[in-house]
Amino acid sequence: MEVFGQLAGGFATALQPINVAMLFIAVVLGLVIGVLPGLGGTSGVAILLPITVFIAHGSLPGSNATTAIIFLAGIYWGALFGGVITSILFNIPGEPWAVVLLFDGFPLAKRLGKPGLALASSFVSSFLGALVSTILFTFFALPIALKALEFGPAELFAVFVLSFATLIGLGAEAPMKSLAMLALGLLLAAVGFDTITGEQRLNFGQTSLLSGISFVPVTIGLFGIGEILASAEEQGIGFVENISAKLGLRDVFEAVRELRKRLRLVLSNAIIGFFFGVLPGHGATAASFLGYGLARQYSKNKENFGKGEISGIMGPQAAADSAGVASLVPMITLGIPGSPTSAVIMAGLFIWGLQPGPVLFIQHPDFVWGLIASIYVGHLLTFILCLLAVPLLAMIMRVPYAIITPFIVVISIIGSYSLNNSMLDVFITVIFGLIGYWLRKMKYPLAPLVVALVLGDSTERELRKALIAGHGSPLYFFNSGLSTVTIILAVVLVAIPLIRTIRARRRGAAPPAAAAHP
């Protein structure tokens, strides 16, 4: 089995002292980022991205690009776990994927007086979900990458179109808003020099825009500054619930007993979460809600949901963590990010001089298998740290608003400036922070914008290469069976919300998404 040999090599890389040390630091940072309500996993990874340039180029003894990706991914694993702590103890979700834990996690902690059990249940199910997903990742990644090596421009363009279609067809927000955000991302990606003809476009005479709009400052703005403005507004309204944070061994054993009773639910949600996470643009948040819905649907104790039911914690957590890991699969194998966070990690690969996609498996197997092995190590480390450090992590919530909020802004500014030493990037961050805050209020999804911004250039390049190869004929896209099927699938996915709307109208009711927000 080639995979086992490659994985053993990956473990040898991941367990090098520098990689373990950076993974530890990253997981701690990720846990802190996850706990802070104004700072999410995506913005945390984006803010720390410039630091990885120095890590990747060997500023630390023994560090290289593998250390950098292990560091970035470690932040994500930490944030995946850390976000739930504040949901359960303070009724404030630290991350979007932890919102669902307000339904049963907080009631179990407060109403039933079992905060330790609520936290332990969340951690054990997250760990198992991530483990299942990482095993699937290990065995699926190589075959997908090897298949993708055969793709030409038509197939690649069709896969990009399919990923955009999933953002529109399966998104939680109104499809027209998703489409507008997607097109905005493609438009922003087109600013500056055209990569094929070298022509200037959309720069309106500004030389500073010739190199285009950087992805990182936009993401830090949309997710970092945007989130902190949203949490400032909640601070203006809000009231913070507070439960003491204690997690004993007894809680862990009880959680493991509860997990054994729900093993089928957790495993099936982990597998579903994996396949859901692979779809571009969805990631952990959508999977957490799907996991909660499935847990409730198939539970014999439906009436207990919303009152502290443990299945309402374990179901979504297994799905969310599984999807979080899975969102890296299309990024590594196809060069298509599965979530905004993996889009930022993918931007990191470009910055370090690597090309995400199937060629990575051939040219840099140490990098890919080191990353895969580090997911196992990273989750084990995160799990242990969570069990040991919950009281310390909960204390972060007690750092005053007047210090933590401006500090996050300061860190965001450092992150956006230091990538290109550009004040323009600082202003882009601030402006996109305000835009992101407003778009979020108006229920425009930000994931399509971010994914389209990072994929915009590649999509245009493959489209034009295919058209040149086909002498301008769009029929070239239907020459291969794979691209034909992929394009048909994309059309079906985009048609789903349309069919839903027509059906709802026939029944005489307004379509759910449109009724809630046009």
Partner: protein
């Protein structure tokens, strides 16, 4: 929510119209450099068109379907909570590089560049004093501690050079 939804959709339509105008050369028959190439303007033109059409539909739906009666903000308190963060953040970003304007042969400075460290000290101090209501020596400690720690971590540790102030250029401060 209706006016806010319609105004947001209208703003996106406006951006789309500007981008479409900039990319109008998409219809030039000699756009591409190779046979079959659609040229540099084709892709942004159609991205802008899709964005504009989608936003027109969003705006139309906002006008014709029932909308929530609540405003964009939960009340004056939540609006001020956002402004209290947004306005100092904008001023902070402007202070780092300074405020001025440039003619063909001279740059006029209204406010000199405060650089990252001085601007951060002022920004952190403002929040500690205004929102935190800390005693003055705590405010002073915060103003000193944060820039020094950031200098040690980024400038010395990671060798990330952040913008320096006018006092650095005149040799008064190390940042």
């Amino acid at each position: 929510m209706r006016p806010y939804q319609v105004a947001t959709a209208a703003a996106i339509v406006l951006i789309a119209a500007v981008a479409m105008f900039d990319s109008r050369a998409a219809f030039n028959p000699s756009a591409g450099t190779s046979p079959g190439d659609v040229g540099a303007r084709w892709y942004p033109f159609w991205a802008a068109t899709v964005m504009g059409v989608a936003s027109v539909i969003v705006g139309y739906r906002a006008l014709t379907t029932p909308q929530g009666t609540e405003g964009a903000f939960a009340g004056a308190r939540s609006l001020f909570a956002v402004l209290k963060l947004a306005v100092p953040m904008l001023v902070y970003a402007l202070l780092i590089g300074g405020i001025g304007f440039r003619t063909t042969d001279f740059t006029y400075r209204i406010i000199p560049p405060f650089g990252f460290y001085l601007a951060t000290a002022l920004y952190m101090g403002l929040f500690a004093w205004w929102l935190g209501r800390y005693k003055i020596w705590w405010v002073a400690a915060i103003m000193a501690a944060f820039p020094i720690v950031i200098f040690a971590v980024f400038e010395i540790g990671f060798r990330v050079s952040l913008p320096k102030s006018f006092l650095y250029t005149s040799g008064v401060l190390p940042f």
